[in-house]
Assembly symmetry: D2
Homo-oligomer: 302 residues x 4
Amino acid sequence: MAAEPNNWGRFGPDDQRGTLNLLTPAVVLDALRSATTGEVLSLAMPIRGATSSPAPQSVPHLPGRPLPQHFMSVDGGDYAAGARPIGAGLRVADDALVVTGHGTTTHMDALCHMWSGDELYNGHPAARVRSYGATRCGIERVGGVVARGVLYDLPGRLGLDHLPVGYRVEADLLAEIATPAPGDVAVVRTGWPVVWQRSREEYWSGQPGLSADAGRWLAAHDVAAVASDNAAIGGLNARGLADEPIEDDLHLILLHRHGIHLIEMLWLEELAAAGRTTFVFVAAPLRIEGGTGSPLTPLAIL
Amino acid sequence: MAAEPNNWGRFGPDDQRGTLNLLTPAVVLDALRSATTGEVLSLAMPIRGATSSPAPQSVPHLPGRPLPQHFMSVDGGDYAAGARPIGAGLRVADDALVVTGHGTTTHMDALCHMWSGDELYNGHPAARVRSYGATRCGIERVGGVVARGVLYDLPGRLGLDHLPVGYRVEADLLAEIATPAPGDVAVVRTGWPVVWQRSREEYWSGQPGLSADAGRWLAAHDVAAVASDNAAIGGLNARGLADEPIEDDLHLILLHRHGIHLIEMLWLEELAAAGRTTFVFVAAPLRIEGGTGSPLTPLAIL
Amino acid sequence: MAAEPNNWGRFGPDDQRGTLNLLTPAVVLDALRSATTGEVLSLAMPIRGATSSPAPQSVPHLPGRPLPQHFMSVDGGDYAAGARPIGAGLRVADDALVVTGHGTTTHMDALCHMWSGDELYNGHPAARVRSYGATRCGIERVGGVVARGVLYDLPGRLGLDHLPVGYRVEADLLAEIATPAPGDVAVVRTGWPVVWQRSREEYWSGQPGLSADAGRWLAAHDVAAVASDNAAIGGLNARGLADEPIEDDLHLILLHRHGIHLIEMLWLEELAAAGRTTFVFVAAPLRIEGGTGSPLTPLAIL
Amino acid sequence: MAAEPNNWGRFGPDDQRGTLNLLTPAVVLDALRSATTGEVLSLAMPIRGATSSPAPQSVPHLPGRPLPQHFMSVDGGDYAAGARPIGAGLRVADDALVVTGHGTTTHMDALCHMWSGDELYNGHPAARVRSYGATRCGIERVGGVVARGVLYDLPGRLGLDHLPVGYRVEADLLAEIATPAPGDVAVVRTGWPVVWQRSREEYWSGQPGLSADAGRWLAAHDVAAVASDNAAIGGLNARGLADEPIEDDLHLILLHRHGIHLIEMLWLEELAAAGRTTFVFVAAPLRIEGGTGSPLTPLAIL
C-alpha cells in the first residue's frame, strides 16, 4: 500500500469543492448564532429496507429506482432459535445496507452527479468519472456543511398544504420570504412529500420545484447549497424528467455551473411547523470516495 | 399503505433512546458555545469501495469483515464510449453502495447492537431484533447528536504516537485530562489507526482501548456518547475479541446497561493536532429503520 | 480453518434431499434416452439488472420484490475514458450481481423455503434456518437435477394462448396428457408469462396454477421436481397469495410434505412450440450453502 | 415497454457466441452417449456467504476479491422469536445473494470478459461494454453447454497430488492423455484447490496452469470450452497475474481470439477419483444480460 497523505480529517479551499468554500470559519461561527432554542430536528426520511416486506415501498421515492435493502447478518431471532452467544454471553446484531441514494432517500448530490458536454463543474474532465468512482468532484470532497439555513416555506407562504404539481417557484416569491447571505443553505419546502401518503400515483404525476430564474437568483446570492423536499430541486413532469431546456436545467445551473451542492428528498414538515426562517443547518455525507452522492441525515438546530 | 404518523422529523425523550435524552435543547445551546474558531473537521475515514481494485483494503478495518462495495450504474466512461445524453444533453453519474458498518467504516452503534441475556438496553426484548430489523432500539432512534465534545488525546498526554497494543486506559488518566459534563461526548484518541499505514498485521495484532473502570467512570458522568478511533471502545486481543469478563465488557457497560451510544473507527489525527480539548461534536447516523448502526461522518466544529 | 470433508463434488442419498433421491444413476441413464434431436433450449428468463434504467422492471416478476441489480466494476467505457490496460495491454470487464431469486427470476426452491409448524421437510428443525443460512435443507443439497422432463402444455391442450387467471389445473387434465414415471420432472406450462408483455397489471391480477388435487397426484407419482412458468406452482390471487386452505397449499404439499423441489418462473414458450412431451431436463442451482433457493438456467435437451 | 422478441428460450448460431456454435444438435446427441453409469457429480465449490462469520473466507478464492454475501430476509429464527406466520400458518425463508464470480466462485467467463485493443472477440466493439452491461458478447449469449467432457487429470498422470505452483502444462502432455474432438469441453485438473486446505498462503503463492502452447493446441482442436480447477486457465505468479507476454495470454488466446468460453475454479477431486476420461459435461450460466460471467454449477454425468 502506498503511503497515505494522512489528512483524512481536514478540508480546505479546493477547486473541486465549489461554493462550500464559502463556508469559511467566520461564516460557520456566524451561522451557529442562528440557534436560539437548541431544539434539534432531523430532516431525513426513514430508510426502510426490510426486503421481505412492502416497507421499502412505503417511503417516497421515484418510480423505477432500486430501493434500499437492509439485511441482518445476525439478530435476536438467531439467539431465540438457539444460536450460541460469543464467549461468556455476549449477543450481537449486525447488518448490511444496499443503497442507491438518488431518487430513493434523503441524499446529497456530489458535483460529479450531473453535467453537460465533456466537463464537470470547474472544467474537470468528465472522463475521470469511471466505474471505480469519480476521481474529480466526488462526494468525499464535501466534508461537512455547517451553515445558516434559511427556510423557504412556500406552501406556508401561499396558504397551501403543498405546492400544486406543476408549480414552478419564481425568484420573486423567494425574495419576499428572505434574501440569503453568502454561505447560507437555502431550504426549499414544496410540501410534495405529504402527497405520498394520500396517493403515490399523485406523487409520481410530477413534482413542483424551483424555476430556472429562482435557481439563478439563489446562485447569484452565493448560497452554499440548496436543499429541498422534492426529488430534483427543479420540477418534474409526469415522466419524471425536467421540462426545461438544458440551459435552464436546475441541476446544471446550480451543480454544474456554480458548484452549489444539492440536498434532495428532505422531510421538512416539523421544521415548517416550528415557524423558524433561520436556524443552523448541518449535513455531513458519507465519505464515499468517488461517490456521486450520499444518503445522509441533515439536522436543523433551532 | 397504512397512515404514517407523519413525525419523521421530531425526536423527543423516548425510553428507547437512552442518554441521548441528555441532549436537551439547553444542553445543545450550551454545547454550541464550545465553537471558538469555526473550523470544521471531518472525523470520518474514507469509504473506498472500488471493487476491482485493492482500494477497499487500504482503509483500516477488522479482518474478515465484508468491505464496502461502491458501484457506478452510469458514469463518464459510458459517455466516452458513446452513451447518449438524456434529452438535449444532460449527462449523469449514478451509483450504489453496499456497506456493513461495524468493523469497516467510521460508524455509530445502535442500542440494539449488543446485549447479554434476553433483553436489550432498558429491558426491551431482544427477540424484537429480527431479520427485517430491530423494532426496538434501532439506529433511527438517534436522530442527531449535537453536543460538546471532549477530546481525550491519550497518546498526546503520554508523549506517544499511539497507545501500545495492550494498553487499557484507566479512569484516572481520563480524569487528569478533563471531567465531562452530563451530555458531553467523550472522544477517545488511541492513535491506533496510524499503525495501519505502517503494518496492517500490527493493526490486527490487537487494539488499545478503555478499561472497564474508565467506561464506568464515563457512564457515571452521564456522557451522551463515547467516540473513539479504535474499533470497539474497549481493547481487543489478537483474535479481535475483548479480553474482559462479560461484566466488564465495554459494550455491555456503555451500550447495554447505560444506553450510551458508541461511535467507532474515527479519524482523530487532525483534531488532536488542533490542540483543542473541547469543541462542538455533531453526528447524524443514516435513518435506517431497525438498523444495528450506521456509517456516518462526525464533525468537530472548533 | 477446520479441515474440510473434501467431498464437495459428490451427492448421494441423504435424508435432507427428499425425492431427488429418486434420481438414481439408473434413472438418470434412462432419462438421457429422451433426447432425440439434440437441440438444447434454455428455460430461463433473462436477468436484467441495469440499475439506472427501466430494464430490471421489463422482466416478469412479482410486485414488491427487490429486483436484480447488476453492476460493472470495470468495463469498456473506462478504457474509452482513458483507463490503462493491465500490463502490456490486457483489458477486462468485471461485474457483480445482487439477486433475490423468489418472485424475480427463474429459480429453484430449496426444501427450507417453506414449512408450517416447527419442522421443515422430513422433521428437520426450522430453528436451524437462521440469519447465516439454513444448516438443514439448503439449496446446496440439490447438486444437480438430470431427469426426464414431461411437458404439461395446458394452454396447448385447451387451445388457448395461456390459462385464464383464475384457472386451477386438476389432476384429470394432467393425466390426459401424460402419467409421469418416478423421478420425472413435471414441467407445467400455464402460458402466464406471455401476459406480461400485454399488461403487467394483468400479470399481477393473479396467476393460474395447479390445484391441490393435481399437486397430490404428481406427488403420488413420485416426480423428482415440479417446474412451472408461473410464480408459485399453485395459483395466486390478486394480492399475490395462495387462496387454498393451508392443508391444500401447493408449496406445503410438494416441498414440505414430500420433499419435491420446485422450479418457478420458467420460460416455456419455445419448448411448447417444439411440440415435445418428453425430453431431458437438466437444472443445477448455485451451490449457495444454506440458501433458500437459487436463480438458475434449466435446460431442455430435445 | 417495447415488444419483446419473445425468443428467450432459443439459442442458435450467432456471431457473438464463438465456438459454442460447435455444439450442434448432432454433437449434443453424440455427447450424451458418453454417459455410461448415470452418476451425476457437481463440479462446483460451495458459495459460503454468511457475512458475520469467517465462512466466506473458507472457500478458495483470489486475494482482494469481494467475497459472496448471503443474507436471509426472513428465516426460522424470526419465527422462533415470535414472528407471525402468513395466513393460517405458512412459514417462509427468503434470501439474497451478492456475488462477484471472477476469482471467488466456480464461474464461467463471457466473451466480453477480456480483450486487448478496442475489439472484443470477433470484432465486436469493446465500447459496447458499459456500466449497464455488455450489449455484445454477454454471458446471456451462452444459453447452456451440453457437450462431451474430456478430463485432463494432470496430477494423476504425473503421480502427484497436485501440480507444482510454477508448472505450465504443455500440449504434449495433454496429447498423451487424449485428443479432443470438435465441440468437446476440455476439463483440466491441476489439483491446486487441495492446497487451500493446507495453506491459503501457499494457494496464493501462484497457480499452475496451461501454457500458451497448450491453449493453442486446444483451440486448434476446436474445443467448445475449457474448464479448470485453477483460477485463470493459465498459470499465475505470486502477484496473482499471468507471466506470459500478451500474445501468449491464455484468456486472449482462448476467449478473445477463438471465442472459446472458459469455466474456472471447478472442484474436480471426485471426478478424478471416478477414473473417467470422458463423460457428459453440462453447464448453464445464469442468464445475466450483459454479464461478464456467471457463477454456476457444472455437472458431470458419468
